[in-house]
């Protein structure tokens, strides 16, 4: 990552303190978000999100599998993030692996809830075909094409868009299967079930620079941060996940303040994302 001179650092910190950032945004303003869905036709669902220069692609692939014996009535979802070496110079070779693992784990905690599946943003019981025997496995893969800060928010939004674009094929189960036999299934090519994505939370990352918090930081602003908190909030305003990065410690009152600011910002972000996703899907249907 290219470093900054003292003059530039001073300018960035001053901008954040005076509520005019380097590109004129206010502290709580997002960059223009551009959503495209259906970018990868071979996958069950896909989406590409651009927030300024940050560019991420997310795909969802559904395969039939066996549910875990502890939770026979739930399907399985796994999230994996890959930071492409083209995204930033530091991702060259194996440099991006650490960040990829960190992002994957953060996304899993925010969107999938606990180990028992409780509190997941995605309703796992809708993925089951035959209880105890057959369920859908969703593999969510994300690729960071270009990194300019605020990756977690972009990835969360991309997963939400990809899931709303996902169509799961309808499955006909042959009747009369008994005992331990695997039932015959017939996957139809024509009919698809759309996924219900209204409960999926959005992730809002608040970066603390000096005394103020900003939303949607660019790489230069992130280099000046003392700490950052990523909060995933769902439509009801409940917090589904919390993640803190950065070396500086935070007073608990500041953490609570950041959480309330994130809740406020997440409403606008959720509405904006929903309208952009709907527009993207409508555009895709027309073409």
């Amino acid at each position: 990552m290219v470093g900054l001179s003292l003059g530039e650092k001073h300018f960035i910190q001053g901008g954040i303190a005076q509520d005019i950032r380097s590109d004129g945004r206010k502290r709580l303003t997002y960059r223009p978000i551009n959503v495209e869905t259906g970018v990868i036709p071979q996958a069950n669902g896909s989406a590409r999100i651009r927030m300024g220069a940050t560019d991420v692609i997310s795909t969802v692939k559904a395969e039939l599998g066996k549910p875990i014996s502890l939770q026979p009535d739930k399907g399985k979802v796994s999230i994996y993030v890959d930071c492409s070496p083209t995204a930033a110079p530091m991702f060259e070779g194996r440099g991006g692996e650490e960040l990829s693992t960190e992002l994957s784990v953060a996304l899993q905690r925010s969107l999938l809830g606990g180990k028992s599946g409780a509190g997941a943003g995605i309703d796992l019981s809708s993925l089951v075909v035959v209880e105890g025997k057959i369920c859908w496995d969703l593999y969510i893969d994300c690729l960071v094409v270009c990194s300019d800060g605020n990756l977690l928010d972009a990835l969360g939004a991309a997963i939400k868009a990809a899931l709303s674009n996902t169509g799961i094929p309808r499955v006909q189960v042959a009747a009369g299967a008994s005992g331990d036999e695997q039932p015959e299934v017939d996957i139809s090519d024509e009919e698809f079930l759309q996924f219900d994505t209204s409960d999926i939370p959005v992730i809002v990352t608040l970066t603390k620079v000096g005394r103020h918090y900003i939303v949607d930081a660019t790489t230069e602003e992130e280099s000046q941060m003392s700490s950052a908190i990523s909060i995933s909030v769902n439509r009801k305003g409940h917090i589904c996940g919390l993640n803190k990065r950065g070396g500086a410690g935070l007073d608990p009152s500041i953490v609570l303040d950041m959480i309330s600011v994130a809740k406020h910002v997440s409403e606008q972000l959720m509405n904006k994302l929903d309208s952009e996703i709907a527009a993207a899907e409508a555009g895709e249907d027309e073409s």
Binding site: V2, S5, F11, Q13, Q18, K26
Partner: protein
């Protein structure tokens, strides 16, 4: 390594030169840094960014200097008059180098906005607060710089002191508007020249666009 191009009087930028070497008269450091980067025959406008290998990256300043010529092992730079030297507060933007044409004048001072604009041939554009070019003796400047160094190096510099030295809001707004104008022009592929930048700025002001809205597609369509 032979270079067929003549490069006199080309303005370039360098980053991450360590503080202690700033006032050294012979620019050996630049030779060392640049020879490793200058292995290919790059056209005159494409200067690579140089990073200081001693690891002073975190606090090193940006410099503006003029290229005098090329020697076999590197570049020969000069920074002799007061208008060259360290860059003060501002933003550094990168645009593709072919969008910046060689002109007679690369340093622009915009009176109305009190903003300095420097268009580097290597695609680095600096927009910042206006700094008066001072004509002090070298020793005075060196001692002033030492005082500034001490201030910057102290970890206990408090936030209040820093806040007092932040730029004015109007200057910052103009700086951001100009920077966004440059960003829009580089996205659209226009040549970056002072007239075009001023036109874009005036257009955005006349449309009453907020500064951050300049980056939306509407202004792009109007251009």
């Amino acid at each position: 390594m032979k270079d067929p191009y003549t490069l006199s009087h080309t303005i370039i930028f360098l980053t991450h030169v360590s503080e202690s070497r700033l006032y050294q008269t012979r620019l050996d450091l630049f030779h060392l840094l640049l020879c490793s980067y200058y292995r290919t025959r790059a056209p005159p406008c494409c200067w690579h960014r140089c990073t200081c290998r001693s690891g002073a990256g975190a606090t090193a300043p940006n410099l503006k200097a003029e290229v005098r010529g090329i020697q076999q092992d590197g570049l020969h730079l000069q920074a002799r008059s007061q208008k060259y030297g360290k860059l003060q507060r501002g933003q550094l933007l990168t645009v593709p180098p072919y969008l910046v044409r060689r002109r007679k004048q690369h340093f622009h001072h915009l009176e109305l906005c009190r903003v300095d604009l420097i268009l580097g041939c290597n695609g680095f554009i600096c927009v910042g607060e206006h700094v008066e070019a001072k004509d002090d003796m070298v020793e005075d400047q060196a001692s002033k710089l030492e005082q500034q160094n001490i201030k910057y190096n102290k970890n206990s510099i408090s936030l209040e002191e820093q806040e007092q030295t932040y730029t004015l809001i109007e200057t910052r707004q103009s700086t951001c508007r100009i920077a966004n104008a440059v960003r829009v022009l580089s996205i659209l592929g226009f040549n970056i020249a002072i007239e075009v930048i001023m036109d874009t700025m005036n257009l955005s002001s006349s449309l009453n666009l907020d500064i951050h809205e300049m980056l939306d597609s509407e202004l792009c369509v109007m251009c």
